[in-house]
Every structure is written in C-alpha cells, then in structure tokens.
C-alpha cells in the first residue's frame, strides 16, 4: 500500500462537501436565535433589580459590619486581653474560673 493509495481511498470514501444543507440551515437558525438572546444585557438587569429591591444596600452594610468586627477581633488579639474594667491583662496572670481541687498536687 502506498501513500498515494491511502490518500485516494480516503478521498473516494469521505464526502466532498461539508454538512448537508438541512444541517447547515438548522445550525444557522440556532446561532441566530442565540444571537438574539445574547444581545439582552442580562447582568445589568440583574444588578438594577438588586439595587431597586434594597438587597444591594443590605449586603453592603453586612459586608462592612463583618469587616469591622474582623478588624476589631484582630486588633484585640494582637494587643492582648482586657479585664472587665478594660485594663490589659497578661496571659499568665489570668486566673481560672474553676478552682483547682485540693488533692490535685
């Protein structure tokens, strides 16, 4: 078998043209339909609706509150603990709320 024979066999067996006309028409109809759908600015519509319903503002406030509480927790963690008067307490001076049993030593 030569390369020429292989090429000729493939050329004889496989179709000379691409998709049949019906398939092409169906495909064109589909892309036209998709083109119309894609033209609608869906993401903008969604954002507008969110703004109108007030969800946007609520989400913004919640996000800000979350960020603030996280920052405060981080600052407290870095600066150490405080007692009920607001005075800083060293970690080793903190007393356990439950007294140690007498026979534990």
């Amino acid at each position: 078998m030569t390369e020429k024979e292989l090429r000729k066999s493939l050329n004889d067996y496989l179709p000379d043209a691409g998709l049949p006309e019906k398939r092409r028409e169906a495909l064109l109809a589909k892309i036209r339909a998709e083109g119309k759908t894609a033209a609608a600015p869906l993401h903008l519509k969604g954002e507008d609706e969110m703004r109108k319903s007030g969800k946007f503002r609520v989400t913004l406030v919640l996000a800000a509150a979350l960020l603030l509480s996280f920052t405060m927790a981080l600052a407290a963690g870095m600066s150490g603990f405080v007692n009920y008067k607001g005075e800083p307490v060293e970690r080793q001076n903190m007393v356990s709320a439950t007294p140690m049993p007498a026979n534990s030593q």
Partner: protein
C-alpha cells in the same frame, strides 16, 4: 491555543458561514473516520461549529487547529458515552432509510481498525493535508509523537494490506 480576536456582531454570521464552508469537509471526514458513523459525525461537526460560534471569534492563524482539536474531543466524548457503547452498531446499510454511505474498500476498513490515536493522525495528514506541526498543535502533543503514531499506523496498514494482497493472489 486561545480564541483571540472577536468578530464584530454584524460580521459574525458571515464569519461563521466562512468557517462552515472552509472547514466543513475536513471536520466531517475526520469525524466520520473517528466515529465510524455518518449521522453521529454530522452531529459532532454541528456541535463543533456551535462551540466556535459561542467563543465569539477565533484567530485566523489558529482557527483550523482549534476546530480540529474541538472536533476530535467531541468525538472522544461521544465514544465515551454510555449510549455509544451500548447501541447496536452492526446495522447493515440496507436496514437504514438514510442515504447509504459509499462502500468501504480494504484500505478504509483497515484505517478504521487502527487505534483511535493513530487513526486521527492518519486522517488529519492524508485527508486534511495537515502537516505534522499542525497536527501536533491541534492535538496538543509533541511533533515527535505525531511522527511516531504516523509511522506505527503506516506499518500496521502495510502489514495488513500486504497480507490481504498475498491471500488474494493465492
């Protein structure tokens, strides 16, 4: 390989028709040889073009490689699907109401019997006229792998067809 230059909206349909006209034959032949089924091959080509449309545009220098790669991947997906594996595929052309595909000769039969990886390289080169570099780019493999697959396929074809030739002479 990425889909780069976007085609403007009003030119997209013309661009799409050009894609179908230019690459329809190549893709259909490739899919027929990979799937061994004309109707499924047409489905695969349709899906390939639809995916191309959804990219919004392809760079002209890489569009052929992109389309061939996507078509080969779609054919692979079809072959992996449960439906493909369990459907009875030994129906004779006389049983079908659809147009009868052309008769296969020994060469085509042997090409169809090759492993998929070797078959796609053979079809891309001898049917699609693609160079080893283009095939490598399309399949995302090294050029050396393309040469190796092509050589293996040719050896197998030669062996099988020579054996058949000898048997016919005897």
């Amino acid at each position: 390989m990425r889909s780069g230059a976007l085609v403007p909206g009003d030119e997209r349909e013309a661009w799409f028709i050009r894609l179908m006209d230019t690459y329809g034959r190549l893709l259909l032949g490739l899919c027929i040889m990979l799937l061994k089924d004309h109707q499924l091959a047409e489905d695969a080509v349709q899906e390939t073009f639809l995916r191309a449309w959804r990219t919004g545009g392809l760079r002209e220098d890489t569009e052929r490689a992109w389309l061939v790669r996507v078509a080969a991947n779609i054919c692979r997906d079809y072959q992996r699907s449960r439906w493909f594996r369990f459907v009875e595929r030994r129906v004779t052309p006389e049983d079908l109401t659809i147009p009868v595909p052309p008769q296969e000769n020994d060469v085509i039969r042997e090409v169809k019997r090759l492993p998929r990886k070797e078959r796609e390289v053979i079809v891309m080169h001898y049917w699609g006229g693609m160079s080893a570099a283009e095939i490598a780019e399309s399949l995302g493999i090294a050029r050396a792998s393309v040469y190796r697959r092509m050589e293996n396929a040719k050896k197998k074809l030669k062996l099988e067809l020579d054996e058949k030739g000898d048997a016919a002479h005897d």
